[in-house]
């Protein structure tokens, strides 16, 4: 039994080791009695991004909170960032009649800057806690023109690991 345990432990130790050191050979005939040894390892990037959950817009509401896209945790390489791209057709579609729509806009606030999210909008997040707050905006004229019924639309968030600049 002890032998088996010892064998498994040795295997585990070997698999956990990610850096391999090569011995440099120095003897009495070597000119230099010095040798450089490079120790290397690799830390893979890791991050967690939270995106908004499904949202329900109250009837006649001009602005509705849509939550935020935020970098919850990040272990990124220098000069790297997490890029969030938002895509949508910006129309809420009537479930019974797909020609009936309610146009809407998304507004993104990063820091103090607010901008309207257009097709292909993207934002780069680098540090834990970086976030883009989103709101759903529907003009009163568009509410007034809307036919009765249930409407919905899907907003897609694409997350990618990219160069920061």
């Amino acid at each position: 039994m002890k032998k088996i345990i010892a064998l498994l432990s040795a295997a585990a130790m070997l698999s956990a080791a990610s850096a391999t050191a090569f011995a440099a050979e120095i003897n009495e005939s070597t000119d230099s009695k010095q040798a450089d040894v490079t120790i290397s390892t690799s830390v893979a990037p890791a991050y967690t991004v939270s995106i908004p959950v499904n949202a329900n817009v109250a009837f006649n509401a001009a602005e509705t909170d849509f939550g935020s896209v935020s970098l919850e945790s990040a272990r990124l390489a220098p000069n790297k960032a997490v890029e969030v791209t938002i895509t949508s057709d910006f129309d809420l579609n009537n479930s019974a009649d797909n020609t009936a729509v309610i146009p809407y806009t998304l507004k993104a606030t990063k820091g103090t800057a607010t901008e309207t999210v257009g097709t292909g909008y993207s934002a780069k997040l680098q540090n834990t806690g970086d976030k883009v707050a989103l709101t759903i905006n529907i003009a009163q004229a568009d509410w007034d023109a809307a036919a009765a019924g249930d409407y919905s639309d899907t907003v897609t968030f694409n997350i990618a690991y990219v160069d920061a600049v």
Partner: protein, 175 residues
């Protein structure tokens, strides 16, 4: 055997979190935005001092109407009352009331329709004076009797002038 199992589990626990932390490939997730637009809207009526046709209660009565419909309402003041102000959704629409009728714009939300009434002012009744006045105020219209008097006077004057002329003519012939 138990020891081997525990050891293997320990190795697995140590190994799994390292796998899930890598995320260099792009990922996509979606979120759904939904909204509902009602098929009907409610109009609440406040009409103390009169009634709105087709509405039972004068205060706090309410009815449902189809979305985007235009509803005509007939406002009927009580006896001795008249419409003072009409408010629709808080907006003064008194000028849009014609002959007691008001038609709403397309209904797109719940609304409050309020009519405020006032008493019709009672005009003071002037008692007939015992001594009729001789002179009429310059801005008051002439009455029928006065016109007849003036005509008789003019005819009398003309007759007198005509008679005088006739007498003068007769004297000339006699001479």
């Amino acid at each position: 055997m138990k020891k081997i199992t525990i050891l293997l589990l320990a190795v697995l626990i140590f190994y799994v979190p390292c796998m899930t932390a890598y995320a260099e490939t792009p990922e996509q997730k979606g979120a759904t935005i939904s909204a509902a637009v009602p098929a009907t809207h409610v109009i609440t009526f406040i009409s103390s001092g009169g009634r709105i046709e087709d509405v039972d209660s004068t205060v706090g009565g309410h009815k449902e109407y189809g979305r985007r419909s235009e509803q005509p309402f007939h406002i009927i003041p009580d006896d001795g009352k008249e419409i003072d102000k009409v408010l629709y959704g808080g907006e003064d629409v008194t000028s849009k009331v014609k002959d007691g009728y008001f038609t709403t714009p397309p209904l797109v939300a719940d609304m409050v329709f309020e009519v405020i009434y006032r008493d019709i002012p009672v005009e003071p009744v002037s008692e007939p004076s015992e001594t009729p006045s001789v002179h009429q105020p310059s801005d008051s219209p002439a009455k029928t009797g006065d016109t007849e008097q003036a005509a008789v006077l003019i005819i009398a004057v003309l007759l007198m002038v005509f008679s005088a002329a006739l007498i003068m003519k007769c004297k000339n012939i006699a001479n």
